[in-house]
C-alpha cells in the first residue's frame, strides 16, 4: 500500500535539494592573501549584536541590504499609497521600471539621466552603505551611492514653514531639503525634513511628493551592530494621511570602509545606447 504522505516527503526532499543547490551557487573567492586596510571585505561581518548600543550615538559606517553584511531585509512602502486625486495623477505620469516597464521605456530621471534621487528616495534606493558623523550642532549622513551627504541640524532650530515662492528672501527647495533632528531616547534619533525639490520621486516606484512634504526618519540603534531607519511621509497635497515609506536596515562594518558607487551621466548614456535601449525595444524614453 502506498504511504499516504510519500508524495509530500518526496516534495519536501526535492525542495530541500533545490535549496541546497541554490545555496551552493555562491562563488565567493577563497582568498588567503593579506587583507588591505583600503578594501571592503563583505565576508568580514560584524558578529552578533556586539552588545548594547552606545547611548545617543549613531556614529560610524554601516552596511545596508545587498552589501554582503547579513543585513536584515528592508521593508518597502505602504502599497497602495493613500493618494489624493492630485497625487494619483502625478504618480500615473511616472513610469518606474517594473512589471512590463523596461529601462528603455522608463521615464525615471535617475535611470535615464543620473538626475539626483533627492531625499527621501536616497535613503531607500541603492542604500548599500552610509556613514554617520556627528558635530555638536549637526549630524551628517554620508551616503555611499553618489558620494553625497545630508546635514541634520541639532541646534534647536525649527524647520522652515515656507519654502519656494516669489518672495525676495524665499528659500528654494533643495534636493535633500532642510532637516532638523533630536534624540527621542538614548537609542532613537528622530529627523524631520521638508523643502524638497518637487521633480524628484519620493521612492523608486514613482511616488511623487510636493515641496512641503514632511518626512520623519526614526533612526533606531538597537545594539552596537544594528541600526534601522523608519521613514514616514506626511504630504497632505498628494496623500490623504501620513504613510510609511518603509524601513531600511543596517549592520556595522568592522573595518569601517565601503566602495565607490556613482551614477555617471556619460556612462549611463553609453549603457542606454549600447545595451538597455536595444534590449528594451526602445530608442530612449521621453522625459
Amino acid at each position: 500500500m502506498q504511504h499516504p504522505h510519500r508524495g509530500v516527503i518526496a516534495g519536501v526532499a526535492g525542495v530541500l535539494l533545490l535549496s541546497a543547490l541554490a545555496a551552493a551557487q555562491s562563488n565567493a573567492p577563497q582568498n588567503t592573501a593579506p587583507k588591505s586596510p583600503w578594501k571592503y571585505y563583505p565576508a568580514d561581518r560584524a558578529v552578533g549584536d556586539g552588545g548594547p548600543a552606545p547611548k545617543r550615538d549613531l556614529t560610524g559606517t554601516w552596511a545596508g541590504e545587498s552589501y554582503g553584511a547579513n543585513t536584515p531585509r528592508n521593508r518597502g512602502p505602504e502599497n497602495p499609497a493613500p493618494f489624493t486625486a492630485l497625487g494619483k495623477q502625478l504618480f500615473d505620469k511616472n513610469r518606474a521600471e517594473g512589471a512590463g516597464v523596461t529601462v528603455a521605456n522608463s521615464n525615471d530621471p535617475h535611470v535615464r539621466y543620473c538626475d539626483p534621487y533627492g531625499f527621501p528616495q536616497n535613503m531607500t534606493n541603492e542604500i548599500r552603505g552610509l556613514t554617520v558623523s556627528t558635530l555638536p550642532n549637526r549630524t551628517f549622513i554620508m551616503l555611499m551611492y553618489m558620494d553625497l551627504w545630508r546635514e541634520i541640524w541639532t541646534d534647536g532650530r525649527t524647520l522652515p514653514t515656507v519654502v519656494g515662492g516669489r518672495a525676495r528672501d524665499a528659500l528654494d527647495p533643495k534636493y535633500n531639503g532642510y532637516s532638523v533632528g533630536r534624540w527621542e531616547d538614548d537609542s532613537t534619533f528622530v529627523a524631520e525634513t521638508t523643502g524638497l525639490v518637487p521633480e524628484t520621486w519620493a521612492h523608486e516606484s514613482g511616488l511623487p511628493h510636493s515641496i512641503m512634504a514632511r518626512v520623519t526618519e526614526r533612526f533606531h540603534r538597537s545594539s552596537k551592530h544594528d541600526m534601522s531607519v523608519e521613514l514616514t511621509m506626511n504630504d497632505p497635497q498628494l496623500y490623504s494621511r501620513p504613510f510609511s515609506l518603509g524601513q531600511v536596515n543596517f549592520r556595522w562594518i568592522p573595518n569601517q570602509l565601503f566602495d565607490d558607487f556613482t551614477c555617471i551621466p556619460s556612462e549611463v548614456q553609453r549603457y542606454l545606447k549600447e545595451m538597455a535601449d536595444p534590449a528594451g525595444g526602445g530608442s530612449g524614453a521621453a522625459r
Binding site: 551557487q25 555562491s26 558607487f261 536595444p278
Partner: protein, 142 residues
C-alpha cells in the same frame, strides 16, 4: 487529493524560501529567461567597467562563419565586487565561453550569466549567475 494539494503547497512554500532571482537594480523584463545562449570561443573585444552596469563586448563566430558582435550587462559594480570581480577580470583578446540571456528583441545584447575561461575557472553574474538563472551572490548577500 489531499496529498496532491499538500505537495503543491509544500513545493510552493519551498520555492518561495529559495532565493528567488530578482533584479535589485535594473529589471529583467527585457530578457528571455529560458536557456541561456552559449557563445563558445568568443573573443572579448572590451570589458567596460562602467555604471550602472559593466558591459562585456565580445565577437562570436557562428556555425556559418558569420561574426556576431555581442554586448551584455553584468550586475552593478558593487554587487560584482562582492563575488570577486574587478576592473581587470576580463580583457580584450581573452578567448572564453560566455553564457547570456538574450534580449527579447533578438538583438545581440543580453544579461550576462557566466564566463568560462580556458583554464576552467568560472566567473558568474551576481543576480543571474547561477546555472538555474538564480542569484550567485547568495553567500555574501545574506
Amino acid at each position: 487529493m489531499k496529498t496532491k494539494v499538500l505537495i503543491i503547497v509544500v513545493l510552493f512554500a519551498g520555492l518561495a524560501a529559495i532565493n528567488v532571482p530578482v533584479f535589485a537594480h535594473h529589471g529583467a523584463a527585457s530578457f528571455e529567461l529560458g536557456a541561456p545562449v552559449v557563445l563558445k570561443n568568443a573573443v572579448i573585444t572590451e570589458f567596460a567597467w562602467i555604471n550602472p552596469h559593466p558591459l562585456i563586448k565580445a565577437d562570436f563566430k557562428d556555425e556559418k562563419g558569420n561574426v556576431q558582435h555581442w554586448t551584455m550587462e553584468l550586475g552593478s559594480i558593487p554587487s560584482a565586487q562582492l563575488i570577486g570581480w574587478n576592473r581587470g577580470s576580463l580583457a580584450a583578446g581573452d578567448v572564453v565561453t560566455l553564457y547570456v540571456w538574450q534580449a527579447k528583441t533578438k538583438e545581440p545584447v543580453g544579461r550576462f550569466n557566466k564566463v568560462e575561461f580556458s583554464d576552467g575557472t568560472v566567473l558568474r553574474d551576481t543576480q543571474r549567475g547561477a546555472d538555474d538563472g538564480g542569484r550567485a551572490d547568495t553567500g555574501v548577500r545574506q
